[in-house]
């Protein structure tokens, strides 16, 4: 069965850029799902089989950190790996994200190679 990725970002443009970077990185997902904030991401995870999540941190309605917390409390989805993608990659915020289960962080701007290095071990 093919693999699926969920891209979570309030910017439609950034979701397109991440999709393009996944293709440039040579990571072949059969399904690319999108969500505009943390709550939408939880809804998508509840309805679809997803192998990995790439999530922004600063989003309206439900931030990336709030999404991680909510996901960690749901046994059905808590083990799906999440990688944060954000301009906010200070040690404090990344440590907080990792304490809620994030598997890594990618700083914007990013290269396709960095996407590959970070996601490869999780797939």
């Amino acid at each position: 069965m093919g693999k699926a990725v969920l891209i979570v970002d309030d910017s439609n443009t950034m979701r397109k850029i991440v999709s393009r970077s996944l293709r440039q990185a040579g990571i072949d997902f059969d399904q690319i799902l999108e969500a505009g904030d943390g709550q939408e991401a939880l809804d998508v995870l509840a309805a679809n089989k997803v192998d990995v999540v790439l999530s922004d941190i600063n989003m309206p309605n439900m931030t990336g950190l709030e999404f991680l917390k909510a996901k960690a409390e749901d046994d059905a989805i808590k083990d799906i790996p999440v990688v944060m993608i954000s301009t906010e990659t200070g040690a404090d915020i990344i440590d907080e994200a990792k304490s809620y289960g994030a598997k890594g962080a990618i700083k914007k701007p990013f290269t396709p190679d960095l996407i590959n290095e970070t996601l490869g071990p999780l797939l």
Partner: protein, 152 residues
């Protein structure tokens, strides 16, 4: 504080990693040249150890070229995608500057970017603020990165 050097380095890094357009910087505008005419802009505030506003301002041709390259598609008119792309660029430029200033012990927080477009408008600011405007060149023309700042 080397604002010009930091802006040039951050802009070149962004264009090399995510936009894939060759970019070169011209010297900053001389003091007193305050107005620039453009068709699409994005701006973001920074607050903390000093306060600042970073903006990227593009004539139509360069705005379309930059956003098209970033999205990997041809864009024919300034639309929501172009403004969204410019907003993301402003956000990433501010993030890069935040990191460079943090390395010198100056902490900043980013606000939310705002993008505007119009047929032609002029950017002006109070001469009480410090202001750096750097012209950048891509094949399709020039765009401008501006930083206004007040040292607290």
């Amino acid at each position: 504080m080397e604002f010009t050097k930091k802006i040039v380095e951050t802009t070149e890094e962004l264009f090399n990693t995510m936009i894939f357009l060759e970019v070169s910087a011209d010297p900053p505008f001389a003091e007193g040249k305050q107005a620039i005419g453009c068709h699409v802009s994005a701006m973001i505030g920074l607050t903390g150890d000093f306060s600042a506003m970073l903006g990227i301002h593009c004539p139509e041709t360069t705005g379309l070229a930059i956003s098209g390259a970033m999205l990997g598609m041809e864009i024919e008119a300034i639309d929501a995608d172009v403004k969204d792309a410019l907003g993301e660029i402003a956000n990433m430029l501010a993030g890069g500057l935040k990191e460079r200033f943090a390395a010198e012990g100056l902490n900043l927080e980013l606000a939310i970017p705002t993008a505007i477009s119009g047929k032609s408008y002029t950017i002006a600011s109070s001469t009480k603020n410090n202001r750096v405007i750097i012209p950048f060149n891509i094949e399709q023309g020039q765009f401008f990165v501006e930083m206004k700042y007040n040292l607290n």
